[in-house]
């Protein structure tokens, strides 16, 4: 019996690394564009493909799935074989994974800019791409599991656990949140509605943050930090405790995204409690990373890799402290819908995700090309620039958030709101500009990285694979001469794999139950009715243009909010909203009760040129809404789908739907004509106006009828 020989492949990690960096640049460029668009709306270019509403989701998807995603895969495909002393189980699957993922990204870019979106944050991609993601994810999982099962190193290092947990949870989250009923090739409606949809969305959203942006990167940290510093992790026991406590608590923290909303009180409190509990394991992890470098701080001063990693870990600590703080109700009252959330996100994203990725790249690329980094100095400069970028991003956002809060909550002595929304916007535009500059500076740093690493690659020679040898795992390892033990032990990993699939399956199956539940739904507010066909079209346009990226539809029970926007939102009002459109950021005002507030002409002019109705607005114009016609042919399928999802349209309503649509459209064009505005009644703007005028009017109807 001999030692088995094998080799570690570097080709796939290299591909992923290149993808990471490329998409990183793209995603950040788009981000910079989006940032500048808020300060200088002219940068929307008047084209539907480049408006902020479509650009912003492209940015989030690109940086999360393209940049961070590929970074995760780089880390996994490099570290896993070395930790388990075996190459990745299937090279074919690795390739499918790589190309599949990049295809998904390209598809995402094309579809998002074209307006094909679900509107659900970080899950905007429509159903065919969702399916593709599921397939590629399964390929990834099978490859990982296969590698684990054929490993030659008995012990599963903590990083492997982080990778595994991420995989399992993301799979479940993705599947559960993506339950949607397709309407057409690129359009679907969420299975859930209103409050339910919001809950599922943010159960997904937070856990996506947890298990996509955090846990895989913790795995990355636990591998690359010791490797770069050439010292073992400070306390391995702590890392084990860190992992398990994080995993068990994280799943429950989702509701903290929905505080003060229509989610029941107790669910909110639960979310807060658990979010606070999360603080301990997170900081345990951070301290573990930092203490690893105790006594080696001189190394950190000289090595840019370590600098990036240290700051990344510190940002992780900051973000995981800020997070629980933000989940406290009184803090959340200030931060929700504001730029504070944006700041929080970007400290984590730019600091933790970005910097850790850069650190990994600066360490990995020279290694893979068997040379030294082209210029340490340049990397250090990148570090300084990047840090400056983060600061210049976050500080203006904090400032803007507080400024917004104070202005929005200010009352005159007579009890009137002191500031109009537009006043607030005007006052924080300079901060938007500053933030955009901060982001640009960060991006410049990334350009330095690209240059540095390209030069590094050029001066070195790519090591396609590294030879290694190790003995296979011995059977009957633990118990003395008890031959049957090994079967039990080997069966367990398979059991885990099978269990995971079953769980994902069960999760899926169990999700079918809501359909039955929804059918027996009795709206708590009797006056809430389904949307008319025209309004449905309008709603879909709202979704397509990404309006929910700037506008919310959820009024919280605060005096200043009710004074500004109207009666606070009730849970029952959004019961037919597939998907919900509560939104999460108020760059523009809340629209929950916009219905009936302004005449149709106001909306007409506002959409054509926002500054005409609201001077100083940063909203871009939407001229194509006045050219494009409503896709009337799709009306019936919309009604049909909605009914299937439990919205009580009468059976056979399809026969009248188009007529109702036309009638309502003509009503609107008639009222527009009265104001000297002429527009054909089949233009999209009409549908949008219909939708906007409907918002929030249902309970008013109840009130007036009472």
């Amino acid at each position: 019996m001999e030692l088995e020989k094998f080799s570690y492949d570097n080709k796939i990690p290299k591909l992923f690394a290149i993808a990471t960096i490329t998409w990183g640049v793209v995603g950040m460029l788009v981000g910079v564009l989006a940032a500048f668009q808020l300060a200088f709306p002219v940068l929307n270019f008047g084209l539907e493909f480049t408006t902020f509403g479509r650009v912003r989701p492209l940015h989030t998807n690109a940086v999360i799935f393209a940049f961070v995603g590929n970074a995760i895969f780089t880390a996994v495909y490099y570290s896993m074989p070395r930790l388990l002393k075996t190459p990745m189980w299937s090279n074919a699957l690795s390739k499918i994974h790589f190309w599949g993922w990049q295809l998904i990204i390209v598809a995402a870019a094309v579809t998002l800019l074209s307006g094909f979106t679900t509107s659900k944050e970080y899950a905007e991609l429509e159903w065919p791409i969702d399916i593709a993601i599921t397939l590629v994810w399964v390929v990834f999982g099978v490859n990982m599991m296969g590698t684990i099962l054929t490993r030659r190193e008995r012990h599963l290092y903590v990083a492997i656990w982080f990778y595994l947990a991420s995989w399992v949870t993301v799979a479940l989250l993705h599947v559960v949140n993506s339950f949607e009923l397709p309407l057409s090739a690129l359009k679907s409606y969420s299975w859930y509605a209103g409050v339910q949809d919001a809950l599922v969305q943010w159960w997904y959203g937070h856990n996506a943050v947890a298990f996509f942006l955090t846990t895989p990167f913790l795995g990355m940290m636990y591998y690359f930090l010791p490797k770069a510093a050439n010292r073992p992790i400070y306390s391995y026991r702590l890392s084990i405790v860190h992992f398990w406590s994080l995993i068990f608590i994280y799943i429950w923290a989702g509701p903290h995204h929905l505080l003060y909303t229509a989610l029941p009180e107790w669910a909110q409190s639960l979310g807060t409690t658990l979010s606070l509990m999360l603080l301990l394991p997170s900081w345990g992890g951070m301290l573990n990373g930092l203490f690893t470098l105790r006594g080696a701080w001189d190394k950190v001063r000289e090595d840019p890799v370590l600098k990036f990693i240290v700051v990344a870990v510190i940002c992780y600590g900051m973000a995981t402290f800020e997070g629980p703080m933000l989940s406290l109700k009184n803090v959340n009252a200030i931060s929700h819908y504001s730029d504070w959330t944006v700041a929080h996100v970007h400290i984590g994203a730019l600091g933790w995700n970005g910097f850790l990725t850069f650190g990994m790249m600066y360490w990995l690329i020279p290694k893979m090309f068997n040379t030294n980094l082209y210029s340490r100095k340049l990397a250090s400069t990148h570090f300084l620039i990047g840090t400056l970028g983060i600061v210049l991003y976050a500080v203006p956002m904090y400032w803007a958030a507080f400024r917004t809060y104070f202005m929005m909550t200010a009352f005159t002595p007579e009890g009137q709101l002191q500031y109009q929304f537009i006043d607030v916007v005007q006052s924080i535009v300079p901060f938007y500009a500053l933030r955009a500059i901060g982001g640009s500076i960060y991006l410049i740093g990334v350009f330095l990285l690209v240059y540095n690493l390209v030069k590094t690659a050029k001066q070195g020679k790519f090591v396609e694979s590294e030879e290694a040898s190790a003995a296979p795992l011995t059977k009957g390892y633990k118990a003395p001469a008890k031959a049957h033990w090994h079967e039990k032990i080997e069966r367990k990993p398979v059991m885990l794999l099978v269990l995971s699939f079953i769980v994902v399956g069960i999760g899926g199956l169990v999700e079918m139950v809501p359909t039955f539940l929804i059918k027996e739904n009795v709206p708590t507010i009797a006056s809430v009715k389904p949307y008319t066909p025209l309004e449905l079209h309008g709603r879909d346009i709202y979704i397509r243009e990404g309006c929910n990226n700037c506008h919310t539809q959820m009024i919280r029970p605060f005096r200043y909010e009710v004074a500004r926007y109207g009666e606070y939102s009730k849970a029952g009002e959004s019961v037919y909203d597939h998907p919900h459109l509560w939104g999460s950021k108020r760059t523009g005002p809340d629209l929950a009760r916009i219905g009936g507030k302004y005449p149709d002409s106001w909306h007409f002019n506002h959409m054509l040129e926002p500054t005409s109705m609201a001077p100083g607005s940063v909203m871009p114009p939407y001229p194509w809404l006045f050219e494009k016609t409503i896709n009337i042919g799709a009306t019936n399928s919309k009604i049909h789908a909605m009914r299937k999802l439990g919205v009580p349209y009468e059976n056979g309503y399809e026969a009248e739907a188009v007529n109702d649509l036309k009638k309502q459209a003509e009503k609107i064009t008639a009222s527009l004509e009265k104001e000297k505005i002429k527009i054909p009644s089949d233009k999209e703007i009409v549908a949008l106006i219909a939708y906007l005028q409907r918002l929030g009017t249902d309970i008013k109807a109840e009130k007036t009828s009472k």
């Binding site: 409050v195 159960w203 073992p232 992790i233």
Partner: protein, 55 residues
């Protein structure tokens, strides 16, 4: 408000997935993964001897 039933679903789903993790935890304890907490973090630092290149 029966629409809150969704929270039962998410609770069950989360519990199931947490149960999977519990099974994984118990498996790893019984497999002796945590018997030695000194060796694993040091082992990852050992580089395989490179036959092809210097170092």
């Amino acid at each position: 408000m029966t629409f809150m039933s969704i929270i039962i679903i998410t609770a069950i789903a989360s519990l199931l997935i947490a149960g999977v993790f519990l099974a994984a935890l118990i498996w790893s304890i019984r497999d002796g993964q945590y018997d030695d907490d000194f060796a694993p973090p040091n082992r990852i630092l050992f580089d395989d001897p490179k036959k092809t290149n210097n170092k």
